[in-house]
Amino acid sequence: MTITRRDSLALGAAALGAASIPLIGAHAAVDDVPVTDVKPPQYKIETGAALHILRPAKFVDADEVVFKANTKKFIDTTGVDVKVDWVSWEDLAPQTAVVANTGAGADIIIGFASSPHIYTTKIVDMSDLGNYLGAKYGGWYDLAVTYGTKWKTKEWISIPMGGGTGPSVYRVSWVKEAGFDKIPDDLPGFLDLCQKLQKIGHPCGFSLGHALGDGTGFAEWALWSHNAYMVDENGKVAIDSSDTIAALKYVAELYKTMIPGTLTWLDVSNNQAYLAGQIALTFNGISIYAAAKNSPDPKVRAIAADTLHQSQPHGFSKRLPITATPLNAMLFKHSKYPNAAKEYLRFMMEAEQYGPWLSECLGYWCNPLRAYSKMKFWDSDPQLNPFKGAMDTPFYEGYKGPVSAASGSVIANYTLVDMFATVATGSSTPEAAAKQAARQMQRYYKGT
């Protein structure tokens, strides 16, 4: 899910607040990561090696600070000259395209989700590193395997380094007032909660507007929690199904309980509404909580004290029906120093470096390797609970089809969000909306 990044992206001032999250786990011991003793692959670093790396810009300070410190540590121990460029999120995909197509520029791009799958022929096989890390750190979560390996093979083409996710964020006191101790995990219960929240004057709010992160995240949750999906395993469009219709009808009911105006919400809107005390429940990354906690206004800080995060309701899905936006590191074939590059990635993923990075980002990035979920900082603050193991999900953008550029195109055109929005407002029947969405998806899935 793109929630965390997009929120922060649009947050502006609030992102600055998020940038100074107090470092709960600052001391970040690295003795709390259980490892299996596996011999690391011996990468013979080329003499005079120099690496150029692109990665997305930070939204929390700790992300950049610790990442830089780790990189410096690598430079100091190996003598390899490493230059990291911090690229804004929107620019990363076009820059990746240029690097891949010109065969020049950065050695490593820590890009997003599907990029390695689009440029498979331009990047170096990572199986040795992927298998080593998996063996040492208790295995990869499903989402990491989906994005890190070539579709339906065991070949690693990239190293997923983390994922951003956006669980339920809610006001404890209002949910209690509505008669609930926590967010129900079933769909009727969830609807019941939202109806009661509305009755007590503290409605929920989920974006049904053109909000790339929040709108998409909500639509995907609605779809997957009803066991519906965009395309089947072969990339054939499968959105026009009875499960989708059920999801559409459910969201139409849910929409009636929401605060008015969610159809106009962009990514930052639910943050604003929540922080203004207008909604009791939404789906979002850690940014709302971080902004509230760091607010100079004691009233807003009180909201933070009354806020909890919880994973989204499972509904009919056996596994958590959400996804995360993964940081996905790929090494290009044009790199003159592939060994140094792999060694760098290995170094960054080892507990001594990865542990502090993960713990100081405080849920901003979630770990792709299972062993890191055992770290103690996850339990230091109950807020972090749903972020722990958030990559333990089989769902991804364009589930269940092959990871490809097509799903990105569908998402960017808000096809899913609009499908729900037209039904929620009654301007289309569920059946017609599903057919229309299928038609639009067909356009992008024609080649796969």
């Binding site: 929107e90 995909a93 076009p94 990746t96 395209a97 891949a100 197509n101 689009i118 440029y119 049904l208 507007g209 053109h210 909000a211 790339l212 605060i259 008015p260 105006g261 969610t262 159809l263 106009t264 919400w265 962009l266 809107s269 604003q272 509404a273 203004a276 207008q278 550029a405 990105g408 195109s409 960017a412 055109n413 808000y414 609009d418 929005a421 037209t422 407002t425 301007s427 229309q436 639009q440 356009r443 992008y444």
Partner: protein, 321 residues
């Protein structure tokens, strides 16, 4: 006196050698013209023709970001013709341009006429009027986004919490029609200064003696406006209209910042849809096809404005038929 000294000092200038081919070439006027045009031509080719050509070429391919794509003929256009979202975007663009332009010119002309009078703090007021146009559009778009917010709208706040005229906040952007008109209002607000200042410049070129003569002949205010102001304003009006239509037709920032084309694509303009499909959606070919589809409309609108409104006779200042 100086000249005679010069001549004696340079006797060689009187016995010219026959011209070399280089000199002849540079004396050849068409060549010289061509040579002087080269830098401009180069700039135009590199920065205008090439991107435009590339855009048109992309429209006939299935390029995506990352893949060069192949020539697919009219495939993109054929798909777009059957795409309800594209059809809506075309319709929205025409509607948006028409209504916003009419609004801008009605209010802009009115403002120009007001500013043309002798009013206190004239220079200051004229500067103030330009503000909406000077402020970067993205910033004013964000301001409008707050004004139209479903939760925090100042307009709703005044109506609901201060004046108690309504009980619920106005859902400016939540439904297709209110959303379209909200965007048009924002666009008119931003476009008025351009129209007003341009027309004001035009008004100031009209000689006061014409009005004096008309006054002596006993012409009413309306007659003076109709018979003097309007015809003499026409040439500049035509230019302002052309530019304004072009700006409005290809508007992107307001819509993208305020609604992103939502709710459910009902406010997409061709420009925003082209961007959405091409860059975030990475379907370069399809996005380019949408952008290329704007060209006939733009050319048509330009011709209409220049030849329809700014007829030659007015431009050359001869009298009415």
């Amino acid at each position: 006196m100086d000249a005679s000294v010069d001549i004696s000092a340079h006797p060689i200038s009187f016995t010219r050698k026959p011209d070399g081919w280089v000199t002849k070439l540079f004396d050849y006027k068409p060549f010289l013209v061509f040579l002087c045009l080269l830098p401009t031509l180069g700039l135009l080719l590199v920065f205008l023709t090439y991107p435009l050509g590339l855009g048109i070429w992309l429209a006939f391919t299935d390029s995506t970001i990352g893949q060069p794509g192949e020539f697919v003929g009219l495939d993109n256009f054929e798909y777009l013709l059957t795409d309800p979202i594209f059809q809506m975007a075309v319709w929205n663009t025409i509607f948006y341009t028409t209504v916003a332009t009419v609004g801008k010119f009605a209010l802009g002309l009115w403002l120009a006429l007001l500013l043309n009078h002798h009013i206190p703090f004239k220079a200051f007021l004229r500067a103030i009027v330009l503000l909406p146009w000077i402020v970067p559009t993205v910033l004013s778009a964000i301001a409008w986004w707050w004004i139209y917010s479903a939760q925090f709208s100042i307009v709703s706040y005044v109506i609901v919490d201060v004046l108690h005229l309504r009980t619920t906040y106005i859902n400016f952007l939540g439904e297709p029609w209110p959303a379209r008109f909200s965007l048009i209002v924002a666009n008119i607000w931003r476009g008025i200064p351009f129209v007003a200042i341009t027309l004001l410049a035009g008004l100031q070129t009209i000689s006061p003696s014409l009005y004096e003569a008309a006054l002596l002949d006993g012409a009413s205010g309306w007659q003076r406006f109709r018979r003097i102001t309007v015809p003499l304003l026409m040439p500049i009006l035509a230019v302002a209209l052309t530019l304004s239509v072009l700006f409005t037709f290809s508007d992107f920032q307001l819509v993208y910042a305020i609604t992103r084309g939502g709710p459910f694509n009902s406010t997409h303009l061709m420009a925003t849809l082209a961007f959405q499909r091409a860059i975030p959606g990475s379907q370069l070919g399809e996005g380019a096809a949408i952008a290329v589809s704007m060209i006939p409309f733009l050319v048509g609108a330009t011709l209409l404005c220049l030849y329809g409104v700014g007829r030659r006779k007015w431009q050359q200042g001869s009298d009415n038929d």
